[in-house]
Amino acid sequence: MSRVFIALQTNDDTRPIIESILADNPHAVPVESPAMIKIDAEGHLTVKRESISELIGRDFDLQELHTHLISLSGHIDESDDEFTLYWDN
């Protein structure tokens, strides 16, 4: 399986996002660099609206990710509730 990744800026807004991605994707591996974090995951990685909303105590819109995203890899499947990266190989 190839690895997908998502890279995010590290700031106060992304702290709960990173936390819930790591909780929802136990196979994901965080790699920290100055000012950013890259989260690698075998095959697929899912960001869940509900988990983030729960952590921040308000309704989170997954498109808010756009403000903090640095980069990603893999095909994307996006709905109101989940944002998934995956490779088919």
Partner: protein
């Protein structure tokens, strides 16, 4: 009284359909081929534009909302950075030379990308593709503007930042990025998308914006970090567009495969050659280093690009033919390019220098198979000579590759001691190339590349002197005239970093920042 029934909120997919596809219309009083005259000539066959899927499903209203938020954040930080004299917090004034390259070589490309995507968006008959290209065109304009605004702060204090738009069209090393993008935007809309949307954005742009911008943060450059990451937040969407575009073209008709493969081969190679300057920025110009060029290459090209091409194999797409040569070059690239700019440091708008012993040790450790054998002896010799007041400058202009326009500095694949020479005669004229891949690109479209504006050849034709110059006047100094044509301040912008005005000022100002005298 009627009960107020809350309207059911539309889902993301429905919203996207309503706000994108449903806003498009079919032409009635003009035939479609007249409205979209560039849709067919490249040979790409599209049967059903409705099959275009935009995975991000970003609609224009949401787009404005998030972009506005990004801008507000960015400008708050830029203001704070300049108000607090943030420039004195960078690790070392040498670092700023990398940022000068960014402004002269990258920012104008953002503007060209804006033009390219605006054109591609106009040329595609499908609504999904048009909206995505339109957003990207606006993004690219934003990137150019935010970079100019952020870096204008440095222009107040340091040399070489003063005239980047003038330089972009003239200075020898800037013909490399310029010709890259001119090549892309003069191609048709499909080739442009494969060139910039896919090959550059998806496969290569991470190497510029991710480790280098993280490096800017590491070196205390909050300005570059902020515009870099702000630009990169759009990049994720651009990459997705590039990938989507490739999949769409390949799924539409099997006859598209060989055309797309040829474009991927061409543009991955052109992109790799373009990024050779970033290799040197990462390994030589960041005083504090996040990772080596080679490590970044392995993560973002070999691993990430490998996964991508494995995935595209189902369409018959193969890893670009140049991948093997690129693998061999990763141990040499940054050293060879830095040596080249050290050679011609008299004719650049930024300073060059030899690495310190500590830095050479880092290079030895990161490049154990090559640095000590091939590059350290040269660099130590140069450093000794510079300390003796005999700093090396190459006195003669270099031979350039007809396709990538880079000096012929690259060595034979597998033999780092021999320059790689390739040549071709076309319609009675001779053309030279740095590699098989640059030659193949020429062979596929010679009528395009015979027109290359090669800076060295232009200088020798007398086309790079200020207006009114008389080259036959007694005591005419051609090099000085060329630098004047570049609007480069000789002795301030160019040459050795040690002892330069930037070096002296930075030391003095940083001293003042810590004391009250």
């Amino acid at each position: 009284m009627d009960m107020q029934v809350p309207k059911k909120k539309l889902g993301l997919k429905e919203r996207y359909t309503l706000m994108t596809r449903d806003l498009a219309w079919d032409t009635t009083y003009q035939p479609k081929e007249k409205v979209y005259p560039y849709a067919d000539y490249e040979g790409i066959r599209i049967h059903d534009w409705d099959k275009w899927e935009d995975p991000f499903r970003l609609t224009m209203d949401a787009y404005w909302k998030y972009q506005a938020e990004k801008e507000r954040k960015l400008y708050a930080i830029i203001d704070a950075y300049s108000q607090s004299n943030g420039h004195l917090g960078v690790t070392d004034a040498r670092y700023l030379n990398a940022i000068k390259i960014f402004l002269t070589a990258v920012t104008p490309l953002e503007h060209m990308a804006h033009r390219g995507f605006a054109h591609a968006g106009r040329a595609f008959p499908g609504a999904g593709a048009r909206v995505a290209c339109q957003m990207q065109a606006i993004d690219e304009m934003r990137h150019a503007q935010t970079q100019i605004h952020s870096l204008s702060n440095y222009n107040k204090y340091y040399n070489g930042f003063h005239d980047f738009t003038h330089m972009y069209d003239r200075v020898w090393y800037l013909s490399v990025p310029k010709s890259f993008f001119d090549d892309a935007i003069t191609a048709g809309p499909f080739e442009f998308m494969v060139a910039v949307g896919f090959s550059f954005e998806y496969v290569l742009t991470n190497l510029l914006f991710v480790p280098f911008v993280s490096g800017a943060a590491y070196n205390g450059d909050m300005g570059t970090m902020t515009f870099g990451f702000s630009a990169q937040s759009d990049e994720a969407r651009h990459m997705t567009l590039g990938l989507e575009c490739i999949k769409f073209i390949l799924e539409q008709d099997p006859a598209n495969l060989p055309i797309v493969q040829r474009w991927i081969d061409k543009w991955c190679w052109r992109g790799v050659r373009l990024l050779s300057i970033v290799a040197m920025m990462m390994d030589y110009m960041l005083p504090k280093r996040v990772m080596s060029w080679k490590e970044a290459w392995e993560i973002y090209f070999e691993e990430n690009g490998g996964a991508l091409f494995k995935d595209l194999a189902r369409y018959g797409i193969k890893m670009p033919a140049c991948a093997e040569q690129i693998r061999l070059e990763k141990d040499h690239l940054s050293h060879q390019v830095w040596a080249t700019f050290y050679n011609y440091g008299g004719a650049t708008d930024f300073h060059t220098w030899m690495p310190t012993e500590d830095e050479m040790q880092w290079l030895s450790q990161k490049y154990p198979d090559t640095f000590d054998t091939y590059y350290r002896p040269r660099f130590e010799f140069w450093r000794e000579q510079q300390e003796k007041g005999n700093r090396f400058y190459n006195q003669t202009l270099p031979m350039l590759c007809q396709t990538c326009q880079i000096p012929m500095l690259f060595t034979e694949p597998g033999d780092p001691t021999k320059i790689c020479y390739r040549e071709r005669t076309y319609k009675g004229n001779k053309y030279h190339f740095c590699s098989d891949h640059c030659q193949h690109i020429f062979d596929n479209e010679p009528e395009k590349y015979v027109q290359a504006w090669l800076p060295v050849n232009q200088i020798y034709q007398g086309n790079c002197f200020p207006e009114g110059t008389d080259p036959s006047a007694p005591g005419f100094d051609p090099l000085a005239a060329v630098l004047e044509y570049y609007r480069l301040n000789i002795g301030r912008d160019n040459g050795e970093f040690e002892g330069s005005e930037d070096h002296r000022n930075f030391e003095a100002w940083r001293g003042m920042a810590k004391r009250n005298d």
